[in-house]
Structure formats: structure tokens, C-alpha cells
């Protein structure tokens, strides 16, 4: 049967789609994306509008309650989620790209290129990034989502480079790549046909981790007040909540729910990642 043939050919996809963790993760992630895309359309309020009374706990009119001033926390959360996704996509992509390129070059060419690139990578790796981000952001008077994404992305790549390097090393030493190399096929083609194809799943997983990692880094900056200078972001919502005494005043919906949404988003990414890990490394599947 055609279907059976298809699954046979894409065994990993089959395992991925039957893996409980991947399914749960993807469902939640999709839900979050939908929330970010359609959430703002679903809510009758705008994020900075005084939508009602202050201090309102969650209700039908205000799913996540209202802030002290009467802004709708749900609206703020979904708008913030948008910016969070934007940062994750942009910064995650930048970090993954840089990491892959450096990791591949180091792994493929070896020798002094490897030494030099790994030196740089290790330096970035030990650098306390938040401190670096703070010092960068502190000197940038106006910051947009793009600026934040770029500085976060530019600093988040090192572990990806290391991981990709060791993957490249192991794939490089497999017979078929050696064969291609001996037959004088261009590096680019080897990269595209042999290595990229074999590393696709791996890079995908790396991307997922970078996505969540950069989101967390960006939210940390936002919480410090070093996020985008305009608009609303999840870190900013949380910073507001802390600054406006949401904890002490007992407005848990304001202090906790936006962060909970973020945490669930990150958990979903972890689930997808570990699920895929089990798919690609059957040893973990046994458990």
C-alpha cells in the first residue's frame, strides 16, 4: 500500500508523529502560535487601553484579569507573545545559522581553522551573556525587536557551533563523505548533498533549542527594562507587574499568568526536542 510505503520511507517521521512528547509539544506550540496570531483579533481591547476596572481577577470578560490600572492582562499577554515569537524566530535563526556555519567550518576543515574557531566559540561560551547583553543594550538608546533579536542571536550561538562541529566530524569520517572528498566534489556540494541531508534533523533540534534559549534571554532583557523601547513584550508585562506591586497586592493573575504562558511555550519546545531526540536516538526510546 502507498501509505505503508510512505511510512517505511519516512520512518523517523512516523516515529516523530507517534511520539507522545512530540505530539504534546507540537499541539501546545501550535496553540501558542495561534494565540499570538489571532489572540489580538479575539480580544476586544488594545494592549494599552484601560479595558475595565482595575484589580479584576480572571473572568469571562477578562480571561487573565486586569492590571492595577485596568488594562487587560490577556490582551497584553497575546501581544507580548507576538513579540516573543518574533524574537525567537529572528534570534533563533541568527544563532542557529552562525552556529552551523562556524561549527561546520571548524569540523570540516579541522586543523588551525578548527583551533581558531573553537577558541572563539569557547570564549563566547564562558562569557556571561546576560552581562554582555546588558552592557550592549545599556548603551543603545533606542531598541527595536530587531535590535534585541540581533544582539541576542549574535551571542547565543556558541554551543550550537560546538554541537554542529562534533556532528560534522562524525559524519565527515563516514565512508560516503570521504568518498565524495576523494572524488574532488566541491565542498558546497558535499555540504548540501551529504552533510546537510544527514544533519537536517539534528539542526532542526538545535533550532528548537535556540528558539527557546533566545526567547528566555530576550525576556530577561525585557524584564530588566532593556527590551524594545516601544510596544509590549512578555518581559515588560512581567516587569510592570513586579514594579506595580502585583505580587504584594495579590494580583497573581498579572504577576504569574503571562510568565506561565511563556514557560508553557518553552516547555512545549523542550517536549518537541526531547521527543525528537528519542526518535533519532532509539536508545532513549527504550525508557
Amino acid at each position: 500500500m502507498a501509505a505503508r510505503e510512505f511510512w517505511k520511507r519516512h520512518e523517523n517521521l512516523y516515529f516523530a508523529l507517534t511520539n507522545k512528547k512530540v505530539l504534546i509539544g507540537i499541539s501546545i506550540f501550535t496553540l501558542m502560535i495561534l494565540l499570538a496570531i489571532f489572540g489580538p483579533a479575539l480580544t476586544p481591547y488594545s494592549y494599552d487601553e484601560f479595558a475595565g476596572e482595575g484589580y479584576l481577577p480572571p473572568s469571562k470578560d477578562h480571561l487573565f484579569g486586569t492590571t492595577l490600572m485596568g488594562k487587560d492582562v490577556f490582551t497584553r499577554t497575546v501581544y507580548g507573545l507576538r513579540s516573543t515569537f518574533a524574537v525567537g524566530f529572528i534570534a533563533g535563526t541568527i544563532a542557529t545559522l552562525i552556529g552551523c556555519i562556524i561549527g561546520f567550518l571548524a569540523g570540516y576543515y579541522g586543523k588551525w581553522i578548527d583551533e581558531a574557531l573553537m577558541m572563539i566559540t569557547n570564549i563566547f561560551l564562558v562569557f556571561p551573556l546576560l552581562a554582555l547583553l546588558i552592557i550592549l543594550a545599556a548603551y543603545l538608546p533606542y531598541r527595536g525587536i530587531m535590535t534585541i533579536s540581533i544582539i541576542v542571536g549574535m551571542t547565543a550561538w556558541p554551543w550550537t557551533a560546538r554541537a554542529v562541529r562534533s556532528q560534522t566530524l562524525s559524519i565527515k569520517n563516514q565512508g560516503y563523505v570521504n568518498l565524495s572528498r576523494i572524488s574532488g566534489i566541491s565542498v558546497f556540494r558535499i555540504l548540501r548533498e551529504d552533510i546537510a541531508a544527514n544533519m537536517f534533523s539534528y539542526v532542526f533540534m538545535v533550532y528548537i533549542l535556540q528558539f527557546s534559549g533566545t526567547i528566555l534571554a530576550a525576556v530577561g532583557l525585557e524584564f530588566l527594562g532593556l527590551g524594545p523601547t516601544q510596544g509590549v513584550s512578555l518581559g515588560l508585562v512581567m516587569q510592570n507587574a513586579v514594579n506595580w506591586n502585583a505580587i504584594q497586592l495579590g494580583l497573581w493573575w498579572w504577576a504569574i499568568l503571562p510568565g506561565l504562558v511563556l514557560t508553557i511555550l518553552v516547555v512545549s519546545l523542550y517536549f518537541i526536542n526531547t521527543g525528537l531526540d528519542e526518535v533519532f536516538n532509539p536508545r532513549l526510546r527504550e525508557m
Partner: protein
């Protein structure tokens, strides 16, 4: 052994060198001319302005060639001179930082060590016990996904506001006299607990997940099979697996130190715990660039030092490195 350490040291030295250079370069080369903005900020302070301007001209050496400025920067750095704080005027930045860094150490060292130990133990248990695994793993994922400061808010809300067991700000009560006495120590621990708990728990998830995977991995390794074939008990095999699984976890410790320190900075802010993170926030809010730079430098030094300690520990526990059979850095 020598090669391993010297290679590591080289990396740390270069990192330190770069950190200092960044510190030097950012205010000079960033767009928007931050120095002149800084200068204008103090124009409002009668009398104070001249002092701070003098300090700027002196420490930035603005009238000298760039290279000279750079060397002077290093010279004063080695003399322990990081400038004078604006926010805590006129205290030298180095003194301000010295007083704050104690709190980071008191908070971070136990949190890192305990969470590493407990996380590894729990992870190892989870790796061999399916039931425990199913219950604990989602929890660990949750912990490791939570942003430090959000978790701090949750902990503060539950333990500080709802249950009101612990204070949620400062390092000790306003009324106790700091010193070596029981009321103070007790009070200090009470204030210390929630930020500690936050750092402890958020990290815990990561260690546990790491160890669980390591244990499963080690459990399926050949030596485990061999030992089981020869009748070794689960306990012994688990111990062996733990012993080997610990190694990547130690390396992981080095890799994650930076994140943990960042997390501590944010946690301190939520709990107004007067360490470097809190200090840095104050410095940001007060545009105290000397202090921001000082904090940055000290955080880098702290992380590098911790990395170096981890390296030495790693060397002690991994015979492969000790015997120089592995060049992996």
C-alpha cells in the same frame, strides 16, 4: 594534564582580555556618543559637574591617542581603579562591588552545588525508575523552562505573600544588627532562602534531565551489560553509571555557569537581594556607567574563576584528562 590546564587558562585569559577591551571600547565606539550624553547628564549638578567631568576626562583620557587610552585603561585596572561610582558618589566602584559580590557568592555557591548534587541524584533515580521518571520528568521540564525571574515571582507569591513564611526582599531585616549572632544569622537565612530556592529549583530541572539521560545512556553501555552479565547488582551498576554520567555533568556545569549567574542577577532583582545583579540594575537605572562596567567585569571574572575551578575538579575526577589521553577542551 599540563596541556589541558594551560589550554583552558589561555582561553580564560583571552576572554578576560576581550571583556576588558569591550569594556573599554563600548563607551568609545557605540553609536550615539554615550560619553557626551553622560557628560551632559551631570551638567545639572552644581559643583558636582566639574568633579565628574574631571573624572571622565581623566579616566577616559579623552584627549590622548586611542592606544594610550587603552593602555592607561589596563594600567588603572591593575591598580584596582575602576573609577568612582556616580550612583554611590563618591565611592570607588571597586569598593561598591566588593560589598555586593559577597551576596552573590553566598547565594550562588550553595545553590549551584546543592542543585547540582540533588539534581543529579534525582535524575539518576529517575533514569532507573520508570514510575518516578513519569512523575518527575514533566516537573523537571517545567523547572528548566521557567525564566528565573518568573519563577522568583511565583516563589515570592506563594511563600512570601500567600503563606507569608518568608520575607521577599532584602538580605536581612531592618532591625537586626549584622554580625555574628544567632538572631542575625537566623534572619539572614530567612531572607536568603527564597532567592536560594529559586536558583536551586530552576537549575535542578536541568541537572536532573541531564543526569537521567546520562544514566539511561550509561545503562545501555557495554560495561553495564558486562557487569550485569557477571551478576553485578543494579546498585553497583547504577553507581558506576553515575560515576561516569557525572563527568559530562561537570562539563555542563562549566557551560551553564554563565546562564546561572545571569539567572541569579534577575532573581536578585525580584527579591531586591543586594548582590551584583541588583547593583547592576541600580546602576542601569542611574546611568552609572562606571558601575555597570565594573559589575560586568566582575561577573566575567567570577564566571571565569568558577570555570577554572570546575576544570580542576574535572581533571581530578576524569582519569582520561588527568592522564592526558583526551585533548578535548
Amino acid at each position: 594534564m599540563g596541556k589541558y590546564l594551560s589550554k583552558k587558562l589561555l582561553i580564560y585569559l583571552i576572554t578576560f582580555f576581550i571583556a576588558v577591551t569591550i569594556n573599554w571600547a563600548i563607551p568609545r565606539f557605540m553609536p550615539g556618543d554615550p560619553i557626551s550624553i553622560l557628560l551632559s547628564r551631570f551638567s545639572g549638578l552644581e559643583g558636582g559637574r566639574e568633579i565628574i567631568e574631571g573624572q571622565f576626562v581623566q579616566s577616559f583620557g579623552l584627549n590622548q591617542p586611542l592606544l594610550t587610552q587603552y593602555f592607561n585603561f589596563w594600567r588603572s585596572l591593575f591598580a584596582g581603579d575602576l573609577g568612582i561610582s556616580i550612583y554611590v558618589f563618591p565611592k570607588p566602584v571597586i569598593n561598591v562591588i566588593k560589598e555586593a559580590i559577597i551576596y552573590d557568592i553566598i547565594l550562588l555557591v550553595p545553590a549551584i552545588i546543592l542543585s547540582w548534587i540533588v539534581g543529579n541524584k534525582l535524575g539518576a533515580y529517575s533514569g532507573v525508575n520508570r514510575k518516578a521518571d513519569n512523575i518527575m520528568m514533566p516537573f523537571f521540564y517545567f523547572l528548566t523552562s521557567a525564566p528565573y525571574f518568573w519563577f522568583a515571582v511565583v516563589v515570592a507569591f506563594i511563600f512570601g505573600v500567600k503563606l507569608a513564611f518568608f520575607p521577599i526582599s532584602n538580605a536581612y531585616s531592618s532591625t537586626v544588627q549584622p554580625g555574628f549572632n544567632l538572631p542575625f544569622i537566623f534572619d539572614f537565612l530567612k531572607h536568603w532562602f527564597l532567592p536560594f530556592l529559586t536558583l536551586f529549583l530552576v537549575q535542578l530541572g536541568g541537572w536532573a534531565i541531564g543526569m537521567r539521560n546520562m544514566i539511561i545512556y550509561e545503562r545501555s553501555s557495554n560495561y553495564s551489560k558486562y557487569m550485569e552479565s557477571l551478576g553485578a547488582s543494579d546498585r553497583l551498576i547504577r553507581n558506576y553509571g553515575f560515576r561516569n554520567g557525572i563527568l559530562p555533568q561537570v562539563t555542563g556545569l562549566a557551560i551553564r555557569l554563565g546562564t546561572v549567574v545571569s539567572g541569579a542577577l534577575l532573581t536578585e532583582i525580584v527579591f531586591s537581594y543586594p548582590g551584583l545583579g541588583y547593583l547592576m540594575l541600580r546602576a542601569i537605572l542611574n546611568q552609572d556607567y562606571f558601575l555597570i562596567q565594573g559589575c560586568f567585569l566582575f561577573i566575567v571574572i567570577m564566571v571565569l574563576a568558577a570555570n577554572f575551578i570546575v576544570d580542576i575538579i574535572y581533571m581530578i575526577i576524569d582519569p582520561r584528562v588527568r592522564l592526558s589521553y583526551s585533548g578535548e577542551v
